[in-house]
């Protein structure tokens, strides 16, 4: 597998909302490269006709009734908020669409 580039690392960091520094990008690029090379081993296994496992339990249709449960007290809901304001969670301006 090809080496992961600095640009790709920077891209991954942005996608995962991590404000990594330039030094970190260099460090991570090397480490991620090693890790990705190691895990690429999964490509060596013959998995033709083998379905992917997405769940570790053999259950289907686990559903709940449409019945109201107790909510959190508003004070508790906002208790951990870094910047509560007017009973809402305040955040700095939103510039871009969700990504």
């Amino acid at each position: 597998m090809a080496t992961i580039s600095r640009e790709e690392v920077a891209h991954l960091a942005r996608l995962s909302r991590l404000a990594v520094t330039d030094e970190e990008i260099d460090m991570f690029a090397g480490q991620l490269d090693t890790i990705l090379q190691a895990v690429a081993r999964v490509g060596e296994v013959d998995v033709e006709d083998v379905p992917a496992t997405s769940h570790n339990v053999d259950l289907v249709n686990v559903l709940r009734d449409d019945v109201i449960d107790a909510c959190l007290d508003r004070d508790l809901a906002l208790a951990g908020a870094p910047d509560p304001f007017s009973n809402r969670f305040r955040v700095p301006q939103i510039l871009a669409e969700g990504e």
Partner: protein, 499 residues
């Protein structure tokens, strides 16, 4: 110095029932040990002394009223800080949750409380359960009670150290790729990762959803069975939780005559420490003397389990950890000009390096263009592992191998080599991928440090593997009494996890 909390839960349960000792006395002893030893071990992040004493008092009063109490009533238990506790700070070992106080209890914690157990505090761990040495904590590394210059294993390092040092009688840990079994093996404890779905994950701060499980860490098999029973059971709040009845204590001492045991040769890896391999083999010999039918077997897919795990787990983690963004709780970086910058800086400041690495690997593995080659491929390899195990269990009742390829290593040994660190989990990962139950039992020493033998069975076979573990434990005679003499008390200052 002696402490009541040095005894096993089943021993203490008898003493409590007989009135020889009170829950308050017992809890006081445990809290005393914590006070004297936490600085050296750094195993507890939060000590709940007030609540613990109050809960102990309540248990004593209930007993005085003649109420029938269960086997965990009055027993001091430590809880890994990855399980939310209502009103008590919960950090998952991360600065991003520093000071976070959950408004609800994890189901496993609720069940502990209902059983009358005394929660003495929240234990240190690798950040978000990502690690094998407890050196990735945002609040400093945990030290091995037998040798402060060594790691206790991870990610449930704090819980392991707590039990091994007698700060608590038992602890809850969690396991995603070996995080409960590895530290137990390193510290000479018994621990079990149950069948996936056996214990509710509601309130377990998620690392890898399809792998995470809560389990007991104790000094003996009887305690492990008892604690596991107390926390098991279906939970409507967890859609992946199972309905299977949990009776793990009946017939624990039935013995293993005729039990078909398979030694998985792939678990004896090339890089394994020879002393450890030898100790495990001696343990397996004991199984033979106990009447088991032991044979070698091969599960070739195990060679790929580590790689598959290190795609699946980070992928799920990259999604599970996205919620830590400084909006609703946790660390928020100040002075950001817009919300995206706020999120990026908060996560940059709050997460440690290992967490960042795994988030990026996970994001990569799920990206368009890489999904097929990585995530999808890994989940198929997982199916191969599952199928191989299913086939093996046609011929064997249980399978065995080492829990770890090494004994507890020195702090700092592997921190700069992520892949070397990952290799510590090489023997525990396959069982996580398959969701089958696996138990580790201390069976001897190598270079003076504990070695664990791992026994794993098909889904729902906890009772059987506990029985095998019990027999082995009786035979091995490992001394699991707590140690806190801190022979190397002049150990170097713990490496702080992250600035």
């Amino acid at each position: 110095m002696e402490s009541l909390a040095d005894r096993t839960a089943h021993e203490l349960s008898g003493m409590l029932a007989a009135g020889e000792v009170s829950a308050v006395e017992l809890t006081k002893d445990a809290l005393g040990v914590i006070e004297r030893t936490n600085k050296a071990l750094n195993s507890f992040l939060t000590v709940s002394d007030v609540q613990a004493m109050s809960a102990a008092k309540a248990v004593d009063e209930a007993r005085a009223r003649g109420e029938k109490l269960g086997p965990m009533a009055g027993i001091p238990v430590a809880v890994k800080d990855v399980l939310v506790t209502k009103g008590v700070t919960t950090t998952a070992g991360s600065r991003i949750l520093e000071g976070f106080v959950p408004p609800y209890d994890a189901t496993a914690v609720q069940r502990l409380r209902q059983a009358g157990a005394i929660i003495v505090g929240k234990t240190n761990m690798d950040e978000f359960a990502m690690g094998s040495s407890n050196e990735n904590s945002g609040f400093g590394a945990v030290h091995h009670p037998w040798d402060l210059s060594r790691v206790p294993g991870g990610s449930s390092g704090g819980s392991a150290a707590a039990v091994a040092a007698g700060q608590a009688v038992a602890a809850l840990g969690t396991d995603t790729g070996g995080s409960i079994r590895l530290p137990a093996a390193f510290c000479g404890l018994v621990a079990i990762k149950p069948t996936y779905g056996r214990v509710s994950r509601y309130g377990l701060i998620a690392f890898a959803s399809s792998l995470d499980q809560v389990g007991p860490m104790t000094r003996d098999v009887t305690d492990a069975a008892t604690l596991l029973e107390a926390i098991s059971g279906h939970d409507p709040a967890d859609a992946t939780s199972l309905e299977d009845p949990a009776d793990f204590t009946t017939g624990l001492d039935r013995g293993i005559k005729g039990l078909r045991v398979g030694i998985v040769k792939e678990l004896f890896t090339e890089g394994m420490e020879p002393e450890v391999a030898a100790a495990v083999r001696r343990g397996i010999d004991q199984l033979v003397s106990l009447g088991a039918q032991v044979e070698e077997c091969s599960l070739p897919s195990f060679k790929y389990a580590l790689a598959a795990y290190h795609v699946i787990a980070p992928a799920e983690a990259s999604s599970n950890l996205a919620r830590f963004d400084g909006v609703r709780y946790g660390l928020r970086s100040p002075d950001a000009r817009d919300v995206t910058e706020m999120m990026m800086r908060s996560r940059e400041e709050g997460f440690g390096d290992e967490v960042k690495r795994r988030i990026m690997v996970g994001t990569y593995a799920l990206s368009a263009g890489y999904y097929d080659a990585y995530y999808d491929k890994a989940q198929r390899v997982r199916t191969v592992v599952i199928r191989e195990l299913e086939a093996a269990y046609e011929n064997f009742d249980v399978l065995v191998g080492p829990t770890a390829p090494c004994v507890a290593f020195k702090l700092g040994d592997r921190v700069n080599d992520p892949v070397a660190m990952y290799l510590a989990d090489i023997a525990t990962i396959p069982m996580s991928l398959a969701g089958i139950p696996a138990i580790t039992v201390p069976i001897g020493l190598a270079d003076g440090l504990p070695v664990g033998l791992q026994i794993f069975g098909p889904h729902f076979s906890e009772a059987q593997i506990l029985r095998a573990a019990f027999a082995l434990e009786q035979s091995a005679g490992f001394d699991s009494r707590p140690r806190r003499d801190f022979a190397h008390s002049a150990a170097p200052q713990a490496k702080p996890g992250q600035p």
